[in-house]
């Protein structure tokens, strides 16, 4: 299938502000402007930025563990939302996932890492800044960084290729 070819159109796929209510997906570029997917993606990038700053400062400011856990938890839910939106886009063009695509495996891995980071900081956050708990601090940083990498990877790899 050539790059750029339209592979599916459907009426009222998204309720869009311009009143068109029609979205066409192409092989190469599947994200129209003002797609809720993009808005959700932007919010997640901002949260990841805030989480990264807090994670870097966690060694010095132990009180940041709770806000960081909140960021992790929110990102976990947003990842579920992003996966649902992705599935919606697949359904919108009458495609069905017949195998486990790399994309869905990455979604699962990111959700597990984010849930682990949230729970770990929630129950052990106040100790995470201390030297004897460096394992938990490093593990939460790994979870945050990998989930961010997954988010970037999901956008870099188009859904319809």
């Amino acid at each position: 299938m050539p790059i750029g070819e339209v592979i599916g159109c459907r009426e009222n796929t998204w309720k869009r502000g311009n009143g068109q209510g029609r979205v066409c997906y192409t092989v190469y570029s599947m994200l129209p402007i003002a797609d809720p997917y993009l808005a959700l993606y932007g919010v997640m990038l901002v949260l990841f930025g805030g989480g990264a700053v807090m994670a870097i400062a966690l060694k010095r400011i132990a009180l940041l563990a709770w806000p960081l856990a909140a960021v992790f938890g929110t990102l976990g839910f947003l990842f579920v939302g992003l996966a649902i939106l992705d599935l919606t886009r697949v359904y919108a063009v009458d495609l069905r996932p017949t195998s486990v695509d790399y994309r869905w495996v990455l979604y699962l891995g990111a959700m597990i890492l984010l849930d682990a980071g949230t729970l770990m900081l929630w129950v052990y956050g106040e100790h995470a800044a201390k030297d004897h708990a460096w394992e938990y601090r490093v593990a939460s940083n790994i979870a945050l960084l990998l989930a961010f990498a997954v988010l970037v990877g999901i956008m870099v790899r188009p859904l319809f290729v």
């Binding site: 017949t98 486990v100 699962l108 597990i112 729970l119 790994i142 990998l146």
Partner: protein
Amino acid sequence: MAHAHHFRIHEPIALAVLAGAAASLHVLWIANVLIARVRPVAEALNVLPELGPVSGLSVIGLAAYVIVFIFVAFWFRGRDCMSARDRVFWFFVSSVIAFASLTLPFVSGFGKVIR
């Protein structure tokens, strides 16, 4: 003393979280490889036909997480976790490396792939 008491209450949960996530990531990459290569496994994990095998993959990933979490949390409840902390951490690191490398499409899909 109060700090030590608090420490003992929470660390088994933190350990269980790490162990559960690590086990779940290992289950996910192994199942991902099996789905691509063994047709009965792919069919067995096709829990929701609308979603395909990814539905079963989600279920067993979650199940592995919950089972290991409960087991480790109860196992270390009231015990000293100091000796296990390092081992569980490196188990988590190894699972992250395994998941990140062995789910890459050109690695997991190398060789015969069932369509």
